[in-house]
């Protein structure tokens, strides 16, 4: 049913390129985000479960 509705996506060849781009962007962004956090902030977050 769903395949009948959508039948054919135009330009399916671009799919792998798009997925690679998304993948690369997401990961680079995440790594930049993580490693620019301040240590004290990380320590505070890590300490949350130890609060009563």
């Amino acid at each position: 049913m769903i395949r009948n509705v959508l039948e054919n996506i135009g330009g399916i060849e671009i799919y792998p390129i798009i997925s690679l781009t998304i993948f690369f962007t997401v990961f680079s962004t995440m790594l930049v985000y993580v490693f620019t956090r301040k240590k004290k902030q990380m320590d505070k977050m890590a300490g949350l479960p130890l609060e009563p």
Binding site: M1, I2, E7, I9, L50
Partner: protein, 722 residues
């Protein structure tokens, strides 16, 4: 803790702490349900394990036959034992991490009783044979709807709690919970698209290759988002709690979270290597499965290194012991997963007991032992007392660990042995073990050993239950635990350099949306091309829809759970084409709602079964398998001979299949039963010629019709449609 951070926390002058109460009752209730259903689910597991050694334990009745109660075991341990344990841990930790009571006690109660009702309905419907046949998603559509509603209740309760929280920051455990909420909802809904025929029967919306891909996208990610992410959340809370030190690296936990949820969702096709699934999808599954080892081991290392400088305590603290084995099991299972996703390894391991060993390392060590550690830590706190017996808990630890070892080693042994025997050629170029039963009889002793391992593990669980009951009896339950915290906003914070942290990590709903986007990207790349691109499923002119009798027979095959032990997917190996015949093609399954490829060969593959044996062989074999195959461990199915086939729903089934795209001619449902009777009489006549007096209305006739059709279409010239 460090209070003078860049966040420069300052309490506003004159601010007063709120006093409020944590709800411990809901935690206790889920924990009790987890232990009780854990015992039930594992005892059913022991029964199915023993049935493979002593087939008479199928008792000759439908409700206890292997095909029906094996799904009962998997559903009970996954959704009842592990599910209830997740909810116990989540309700405990969410309240404390948010410094508030749950959003709504009423929602908590609805969630608890609703979930137990769903478990009860599963325990009734599965033995009765009401099943969709899709692994870990066997429950029929009314229960699927109930699961959806209860999951919404749970999600609303957790998100509501997050919104009214007093703690400014959202700890990483909460992220794992949020990802679980969102992803399980998506997986469950997409995989459960089905067209109801009656209250307890439906057909999968998808067919063949598409159905297989959706199912294993679901199946794999049920492991990811029901057995893994919620437990990682629990680990990030309960491990630091028990170790009394913060997690090793909070940075690593962020990387762990995003990479795990982003990569996991792509890996599903590794369950379908060497099948008729398009090659590009198989490669995608392999690549992402190999990548998955990084976040998985990152998480394990983060957990284990949390114990740095506290290893001496592992010797004395039984809770930490359980956690260490749990994390080690997680590491082993997540190393083995990528390994099994390599095509050359998968060629040997798939369909064998290696996979059963693999999942039980995850289930018994990671889920089981983490749960036990958590309960040993929780109960003394909920009941304001000490654990009743530390030495009993230690004994449980050792007997449970031995149980895991005695379970896993025989399964690996059996898997390697059988996998190699299937592939072994003799010096003259023919199969060394052409009779499948030889490869079964070689591993039955391993099945017996595995049952011993399982028994040890269950004995350990009984010790836990006794210990917890005695702990509860000697203590006094604290239903509402008082706590104090400042309201959010009372603590002034210096947000300098904190922009992204605020944007991302303090907005639960935004977090949920981001997690959703992360898992939808992989899902879309994997699923949409297979749904939409015709060249992925080549059409075959000779492949026709099932006759009405075959369709009814197929539904009996599903009801009896034949797919629990038999695959319908001949892989393109010489060892398989020699044994079974031509390898399976994607185009042969286009009318299969649902697909029945199976995932385990306790018995031989059945895709090329049609026309292999006479009807009389099947009749005798179903009635008494050992009469045709000496040493067979298949249960007998005498009721198929006694019970009459229900043909009242034939028209509805044909109409439903047409709705799903199967090309039955318009109005065919009106004469379907006439065709059904005619074909049944032909089979009964052939049986009569073989000296068997069979009622043409008996269920077994329909099942024989289906089995004789299996895989025969490609041998025929293209014909006209029925």
């Amino acid at each position: 803790m460090e209070q003078t951070s860049i966040l420069k926390e300052q309490v506003a002058p004159g601010a007063v702490m709120d006093t409020f109460q944590y709800d411990n009752t809901i935690v206790r209730n889920f924990a009790i349900a987890s232990v009780v259903f854990g015992l039930v689910g594992m005892l059913v597991g022991l029964l199915v394990a023993l049935q493979l050694v002593y087939p008479e334990l199928n008792f000759g009745i439908p409700y206890t036959s292997y095909g029906r109660i094996r799904p009962l075991h998997t559903n009970a341990v996954i959704f009842a034992f592990v599910g209830n344990a997740i909810f116990a841990g989540v309700y405990y930790s969410v309240q404390r991490l948010c410094k508030t009571r749950m959003f709504s006690d009423a929602l908590s109660k609805i969630h608890f009783w609703g979930w137990q009702l769903i478990i009860l309905s599963a325990a009734i419907t599965l033995p009765l044979g009401f099943t969709t046949s899709k692994e870990y998603a066997e429950l029929e559509w009314p229960i699927d709807i109930a699961i959806t509603l209860i999951w919404v209740v749970f999600s609303a309760n957790v998100i509501g709690t997050l919104i009214k929280r007093r703690e400014e920051h959202i700890y990483v455990a909460m992220w794992f919970y949020i990802a679980t909420l969102v992803t399980v909802a998506v997986l469950h809904i997409v995989n459960s698209f089905e067209l109801p025929i009656s209250f307890f029967k439906s057909y999968s919306w998808y067919a063949g290759v598409q159905d297989a891909l959706v199912q294993w996208w679901y199946g794999h990610n049920a492991v990811a988002f029901f057995l893994t992410t919620p437990y990682l959340g629990l680990m990030y809370y309960f491990l630091p709690k028990a170790a009394q030190r913060p997690v090793f690296s909070y940075r690593l936990s962020i990387v762990h979270f995003w990479s795990l949820i982003f990569i996991y969702i792509w890996a599903g096709p590794h369950h379908l290597l060497y099948t008729a699934l398009p090659d590009w999808a198989q490669s995608l599954g392999t690549v992402f499965s190999v990548m998955l080892i990084a976040p998985s081991w990152g998480g394990m290392v983060n957990g284990l290194l949390t114990l740095r400088g506290a290893w001496d305590r592992v010797r004395n603290d039984v809770v930490l012991k359980f956690y260490v084995v749990a994390l080690t099991g997680y590491g082993m299972a997540t190393f083995e997963g990528p390994l099994l996703s390599l095509k050359n390894v998968n060629a040997l391991g798939h369909y064998t007991d290696w996979i059963v060993g693999h999942v039980h390392i995850g289930a018994l060590a990671w889920n089981g032992f983490f749960t036990f550690g958590m309960f040993y830590w929780l109960f003394p706190r909920l009941f304001r007392t000490r654990l009743y017996s530390k030495s009993l808990a230690n004994a449980h630890f050792w007997i449970g660990t031995l149980g895991i070892v005695f379970y896993a080693i025989p399964m690996y042994w059996a898997g390697f042995t059988q996998g190699l025997m299937w592939k072994q050629f003799g010096p003259n170029g023919t199969l060394q073990y052409p009779n499948f039963i030889e490869t079964v009889n070689a591993i039955v002793p391993m099945y017996a050993l595995r049952a011993i391992g399982g028994t040890l593990y269950i004995v350990g669980l009984i010790m836990l239950a006794y210990n917890l009951v005695r702990t509860a009896a000697q203590g006094k339950f604290l239903a509402n635990e008082e706590a104090q915290a400042y309201s959010r906003g009372v603590i002034k914070q210096n947000h300098e350099g904190d922009f992204w942290h605020r944007v991302l990590e303090r907005r639960p709903v935004r977090m949920a949306v981001l997690a959703l986007v992360a898992i939808l990207i992989g899902s879309a790349v994997e699923l949409i091309p297979t749904w939409t691109v015709k060249s992925n499923v080549p059409q075959m002119a000779s492949v026709l829809p099932y006759t009405p009798l075959e369709l009814q027979g197929r539904d009996l095959y599903i009801r009896e759970g034949c797919n629990a032990c038999h695959s319908q997917m001949v892989r393109p190996f010489r060892s398989e084409t020699e044994r079974y015949g031509e390898y399976s093609k994607a185009g042969e399954f286009v009318y299969d709602h649902p697909f029945l490829w199976g995932s385990k060969r306790t018995g031989p593959d059945l895709h090329r079964l049609g026309d292999k044996y006479p009807d009389s062989w099947h009749y005798h074999h179903m009635l008494e398998p050992t009469s045709m195959t000496s040493g067979s461990i298949m249960p007998p199915y005498p009721w198929l001979v006694d019970d009459k086939l229900d043909v009242s729903n034939t028209a509805d089934k044909i109409a439903a299949m047409r709705t799903l795209g199967v090309p039955y001619a318009p109005g065919y449902e009106q004469k379907a039963n006439a065709d059904l009777q005619a074909q049944a009489k032909q089979i009964a006549a052939r049986l009569k010629d073989a000296g068997i007096k069979a009622d043409h209305e008996a269920e077994i006739i329909a099942l024989i019709a289906y089995m004789q059709r299996l895989g025969t279409d490609i041998k025929k010239a293209p014909a006209s449609q029925p």
